[in-house]
Symmetry: C2
Subunit: 328 residues, 2 copies
Amino acid sequence: MAVIKAAILGFGTVGQGIYHILNEKREALREKLGVELEVAKILVRDTSNERIPGTQHLLTDNIDEVFAEKGMQVVFEAIVNEEPAFSYLKQAIENKCHVVTANKVMFAKRGLELQTLAKQNGVFVGYEATVAGGVPVIKTLKNILLVNDVSCIQGILNGTTNYMLTKMRKEGWSFEEALLEAQRLGYAEADPYNDISGQDAFKKLMVLSDLAFGEQPAWAEVEVIGVDTISAEDVKVATEQGMRYRHVAEVERQADGKIVGKVAPMLVDREHPLFPIDDVFNAVAIDTNYIGTLTVTGPGAGMYPTASVMVEDYAEIIGKRAGFVVTI
Amino acid sequence: MAVIKAAILGFGTVGQGIYHILNEKREALREKLGVELEVAKILVRDTSNERIPGTQHLLTDNIDEVFAEKGMQVVFEAIVNEEPAFSYLKQAIENKCHVVTANKVMFAKRGLELQTLAKQNGVFVGYEATVAGGVPVIKTLKNILLVNDVSCIQGILNGTTNYMLTKMRKEGWSFEEALLEAQRLGYAEADPYNDISGQDAFKKLMVLSDLAFGEQPAWAEVEVIGVDTISAEDVKVATEQGMRYRHVAEVERQADGKIVGKVAPMLVDREHPLFPIDDVFNAVAIDTNYIGTLTVTGPGAGMYPTASVMVEDYAEIIGKRAGFVVTI
């Protein structure tokens, strides 16, 4: 049986999740895809820190060693900032590797560029994990766009802040208490700026805009208001009125063709589809011409949801390669 | 450019929707897929009834004429009962045609058989439209199943009855008034038995069971309770208590491996994800091991939503055929 070698770049929560799933589903994936996947390299900053027992021999802190590995064909990337992630993936694609990324900061800025490069090199870019964690919004959108035009996308794209708003309402916690607990549970980064400022949701929104409209609004024109503008008292008043705060990201194509976006807290009543979306859940509503409004909802964060959609990206890529034998 | 010939079997609401979308999106589909699709035959019972101007020359009441057409390669089927639909599609597959069906009655009973036959003949079966109208639950499930195990599926699978329950609550209509209006709007069939008895939702549930678990529960063991057991007074009482009736279909794999199903009205409170799903909307929640619970929501009925997912099935099939050029 053919063996495909893969590398994991970045071995934090998501990187480790990929490793676990690939191990746990080894047999099933081999059976479904007809090929064996072997994790041959794991790129880390500190090779002395063996985070999963038995992986020491796979660790490297040198990206060149990854591509020097004979038979390397898939690169899973779970690093956080634009660089060096972009350069690594560019190098991967130039080495004819398929790439699967969870890096929204990089992808919001360089996603179209990577995809063009991938097309030129005959490889695929999987980026389901860049938006809404375990929610398959990218695949759903790609599928819809085969036939439909999309006019507007609206959603809760940040699980951390939705968790915080939920706890402020249900437990009466202050903003600070909710943030501390989100950090303790690993939802929020040590530096929570990107989550609470709305920048994280903004980056995901830009990835969706690229896909739905082929372009993004000018970043400077997108109003981005964080959840840090909402106090415990605001939440209390809203709850008494039967309303809930949601942090909503929205991008639409106006009648004049212009793409406009916005990220801001929104008060919703119980008739609103985002009303029951609590905890770390994300929800994305897509307005289309033929189908109407489609909504996908699910866990927006966490090791396994995010890692799972990355392995699904890999499986989809391999499925495409396996092709389809029929004469038309 | 290669031309692919297609037939539409059945030219009611959904069949006409397919014809309209294929015309409206002709350019876009040609550009995306690299092939031209031509509707070459339309199978109807009465060829003297030209439902869309300009289609008279395409109409036939003889299935053999469909397959006698040179270059016929895709069959869209939008007929309602098991036969003759199954025989037609079997014949189509044996003639190496891809088939795309919206026929849940047939597919609940013969779906696995058709898929096996298709595999043997190197063609594809698209059946997104058999379940939940415009909601892409089949594609979402297929994608999830590449990596995840599914334990339970729960949802509103019948748009007609959800519309009726919504109107009974919002307008204070009786069951009979709601049914009449559903019929007037074309949501309910002239014979509404399948909708209100729960048989329609049951058939869709069986299609989902086949896909998620590879098998169905014994049909006789599935409890199916219709919405006709709910009176206007029941709805009024529920509304006063802040609750809503939903008609819910559910199938799960028990700990002992047994697959069990149920279709019945359910009272849900405002914290329940199905609470805000009103009108003809469907919603399907899928419990998985890695991702957690994913929910997809959208219009469960109507000409364009259903026809749109059928054309998406076609586009997906052609996309697979076009293949993927890379050496691994």
